[in-house]
């Protein structure tokens, strides 16, 4: 077991290293370095910078050095929490992302809860009542949930809310709470806005998990041990929830770690439509305006979160299911 964990952690470290290189490549992808675009943006505002100043900045940022030195400089900063400067916003990237990442986590977390509280019971019911009306309906809704693009669902929900209640349901707070300090009222206000992103982000995941849960339950439900428990006189309800459900839950464990990061990844586009104060909109703006330190930092953070989540899931799964450890 110990060996398994150590090996997993080593693999995760190597992956994170590879991801940091990839994020750096993403930062470097647009033509020219970030000073060229900085000078260009200054020029478009009517300011100009002398050649010497540019040269001095170039040395200051280490842009005249070989690429691996630049990488080391960048990653050295990242490890200390310095992700470089956002060109568009003129502030350190770190100042921009942490608050928004917290908001993303919040939306992601509530979606995870929403997904599970819906997917598990429906999946179990569909499997125990196979080919029943509810099974068919949930199958159909499941396919529909997979087929509707997230942003489309967000648009439709907003449209319905807008035309039914005449209010703009975007954002996470009403205007009066936007900059207010945290209070109980602000929290309530947040909850009243949270449900749309929660549902929208959660639909595709719910659809997928219902299918998985149903398929797993169908595999387990005809096993001899279930029959034995039934023969012993265990009530059907107790039998189902005590034995096959627990085995069928394995895939949930294997997704528990990265469900959150992957939902945050999926939330990006919804956040753009719903105008949420999460990292999605600034990632998009960063990419569109080639504010590459900002975009690179977000891609790096999301990927690292995913790797850590996967690591967590693997370890949890190995703890719960000895078969995995043997591989």
């Amino acid at each position: 077991m110990f060996q398994f964990i150590v090996r997993r952690i080593l693999i995760a470290l190597v992956t994170i290293f590879a991801i940091s290189i990839m994020s750096f490549v993403i930062i470097q992808l647009p033509p020219g370095d970030f000073l060229t675009s900085y000078v260009a943006s200054l020029a478009s505002q009517g300011d100009s910078v002398s050649e010497q100043v540019v040269q001095a900045m170039r040395e200051n940022y280490g842009l005249d050095q070989p690429i691996y030195v630049q990488y080391l400089k960048w990653i050295g900063g990242v490890v200390q929490g310095d992700f470089g400067r956002s060109l568009e916003w003129g502030v350190p990237v770190a100042d921009l992302i942490w608050d928004r990442l917290a908001m993303s986590l919040m939306v992601g977390l509530s979606s995870v809860l929403f997904v599970w509280s819906l997917a598990i019971p429906i999946g179990v019911y569909s499997a125990t009542n196979q080919y029943s009306l509810i099974d068919y309906i949930s199958t159909f809704l499941g396919f529909l949930g997979l087929a509707i693009p997230n942003f489309m669902l967000a648009l439709v929900l907003m449209w319905i809310a807008f035309s039914a209640f005449g209010q703009d349901v975007g954002g996470l707070f009403s205007p009066e709470f936007q900059d207010a300090p945290w209070s109980f009222e602000k929290f309530i206000n947040l909850l009243s806005h949270l449900w749309i992103p929660m549902i929208v982000v959660g639909t595709a995941g719910t659809a997928g998990l219902i299918r998985t849960m149903r398929a797993n339950m169908l595999d387990e439900i005809n096993q001899p041990y279930v029959e034995t428990a039934r023969a012993k006189g265990l009530s059907e309800r107790r039998n189902i929830w005590k034995y096959p459900v627990r085995v069928a839950l394995n895939p949930f464990i294997s997704t528990v770690g990265y469900a959150l990061p992957s939902l945050i990844g999926g939330e990006i586009i919804v956040a753009v439509v719903l105008n949420l104060p999460t990292i999605g909109p600034i990632l998009l703006r960063g990419l569109l305006s080639q504010d590459m330190f900002l975009a690179g930092a977000i891609v790096l953070l999301l990927s690292v979160l995913t790797v850590l989540g996967t690591l967590l899931s693997d370890i949890l799964l190995a703890l719960l299911d000895p078969r995995i450890r043997m591989e």
Binding site: I11, T15, I19, M22, I26, L29, P30, P31, Y131, D135, T139, F143, L144, L146, A147, I148, P149, N150, F151, M152, L155, M158, W159, F162, S163, G170, G208, L209, R211, T212, R214, A215, L218, N250, P251, S254, T255, P261, I264, G265, G266, I268, I269, V272, L283, L284, L287, L288, A295, G296, V299, L302, S303, T306, V307, T310, S313, D314, L317, I324
Partner: protein, 386 residues
Amino acid sequence: MTTANTPANAHNLPDPMEEIDEGAISIASPRQLMWWKFRKHRIAVISVIVLIGMYLLALFAGFVSPYDPNTFNASYKYVPPMAITFLDGEGNFTGRPGVNGLIQERDPETLRITYQTDYTQWYPIHFFVEGEPYKLFGFFNTNVHLFGLGEEANGMPFFWLGSDRLGRDMFSRITYGSQVSLSIGLVSVFLSLALGIVLGGISGYYGGWVDNVIQRVIEFIRSIPSLPLWMALSAALPPELSQEARYFGITIILSVIGWTSLGRQVRGRFLALRTEDFVLSARLSGASDWRIIVRHMVPSFTSHIIASLTLSIPGIILAETSLSFLGLGLRQPAISWGVLLQEAQNIRTVALSPWLLLPGLAVVLAVLAFNFLGDGLRDAADPFSR
């Protein structure tokens, strides 16, 4: 350790072989068995018909759409979809389809132009009418369109799905958009397939360190959240690229991630088949590696590969739509469903002109059909089970 989401085979009827008699089953070829099993999955069969219809629309876009997708009409902006009616201006049944006229009104408060149906006017729809010239399949110059309004409409355009902010016909734009949106899925899937089969095949057939390297690469790619990666890569495409170059750029970006799951499956199949008796006996009979792969191993898993290919198309269509919607994928003047949905980004616009969401309906329909088809194919790929 990822457990794939399995849209399971719920539409499988309890007894898949009920009508075909036992004797026929025992002498039927695998292909015959697959067809019998596929036919049982009724929604999959309907999906095939829907998809054939959609691809035909895309192929004959110029003929089917009454206007060029870029023709704008400043006096008919945001026209709501027009109802097709068989009753003429006096309310008599005419026996042929037509549309009522429009009355323009200006809202005195918002100054917005709105359109009301003028039930006293009625213009019949003509078929095979001459209209704007276009090139069928990109070669044949012609100006015959499937339907349109005749001279008596006094220049009123026929927007049966409404018009957008420049007075362009939504129906024409959706049909032209389907050319890009529906083809990008296919092209990208074939690219992924090529990569997946070559790399997955090498990985599974030879094993050893090659296998190890390829598997690590796959794991690495899969550990990055796909949407941010897609966004970052497409943002890096140079803005001065031509429409076609951009299309292929996006296709390649989508396949970079797409090949990994196919590669895994191919590898898994190769690993499983490598130890099968029929492979051993082929080897003992002196068949070369190449012959064993092409003649013996590949045919035994093509059906599975086709099924998973079909199941991966929806993801690509959705990805292209999302990227274009965000302004990172294809850009105006290129037309795809995602580009069209960009027009619907503002919720106030949507509230006043909900028909701008119609391209999204096309996306949902295509994705659903591919999912059901893939589901049916996967069941059929295993004709001997159950």
